[in-house]
């Protein structure tokens, strides 16, 4: 059995990618670095969809369609997040999340 023809390989790989992305979200303090980590997490989800689509699903086009939707939503999310980051920098002169405390009571 070849290693790239097994479902588990892809699931574990996506799991490692997800854990790395989650570490980035928790540990980094720059808003842009957090956005990069979120992209990694979304890619892990995409790999899972594609793996299930390849090995389990009855219709192998459905997972690809869903992955395309994930990409579209990720593009929208990145556009909004980056414009918020630019606005925050203009207001606070910093993109460190520990300086963005205006909503604290």
């Amino acid at each position: 059995m070849l290693v790239f023809n097994q479902l588990e390989t892809y699931l574990y790989l996506a799991l490692v990618l997800f854990a790395i992305g989650l570490y980035g979200v928790l540990a980094r303090r720059s808003l842009i670095a957090i956005l990069i980590s979120v992209e990694l997490i979304l890619n892990a989800a995409s790999i899972n969809f594609m793996a299930f689509n390849r090995f389990l699903a009855p219709h192998p086009a459905v997972g690809q369609v869903i992955t395309l939707f994930i990409m579209a939503v990720a593009a929208a999310e990145a556009a909004i997040a980056l414009s918020i980051i630019v606005a925050v920098y203009r207001k606070l002169k910093s993109i460190n999340i520990e300086h963005a405390t205006e909503l604290r009571g």
Binding site: L22, A27, R29, P60, A61, V62, V65, A74, Y89
Partner: protein
């Protein structure tokens, strides 16, 4: 482990697969661990190209090309622009706090262990009847028949995101800020 040795087609495919996996994981590590924010973006690019390679191994060349086109070509370039428009790179960065890194390692490690056990214990059952139609034509048919509503909703979402990005990022002349 590889039938037919390293120089058979399967052997070469396996070696290429491990290269792609290494690219994905090393890129992801650079993307979260490097101090320079620009190196983070370049690591993300490496990782996303690796993911596109994985999609090729999963029989989906169209999605692999879209991955490179949308993520590498659009999102990463947009992130580069945001880096240039925000904090200058020559400013001194505050040192990393050890407790925060430790907490992040513990948190993501717990999630990793939980999902690892979940993946390990589950018995994955393939569908009883599987069609073998992987072509781009079928994806197009699905997009315009079964998933037409979601397709239109995504286009609406992109329009709203575009307008929202313009409204939020537009400062200065004539705006209230």
């Amino acid at each position: 482990m590889i039938p037919g040795g390293f120089l058979s087609p399967q052997g070469i495919a396996t070696i290429a697969f491990f290269l792609v996996v290494a690219m994905t994981l090393v890129g992801a590590l650079i993307a979260v661990a490097a101090r320079n924010i620009f190196h983070n973006v370049l690591g993300l690019v490496l990782s996303l190209i690796g993911v596109a390679g994985l999609f090729l191994y999963l029989n989906s060349p169209f999605v692999a090309l879209m991955e490179i086109l949308i993520y590498v070509g659009a999102i990463c370039i947009a992130i580069c622009f945001a880096i240039m428009l925000s904090e200058p790179l020559y400013l001194p960065r505050p040192p990393r706090s050890l407790t925060k890194i430790l907490g992040a390692v513990v948190g993501s490690g717990l999630v990793f262990v939980f999902l690892f056990l979940l993946t390990k214990k589950t018995k994955w059952v393939p569908a009883a009847q599987r069609s073998t139609d992987w072509s781009v034509t079928t994806i197009g048919h699905y997009l315009l028949t079964n998933y037409a509503l979601i397709f239109e909703l995504v286009s609406l979402l992109l329009l709203v995101a575009m307008l929202g990005a313009i409204v939020i990022a537009r400062g200065g002349r004539g705006s209230s800020s």
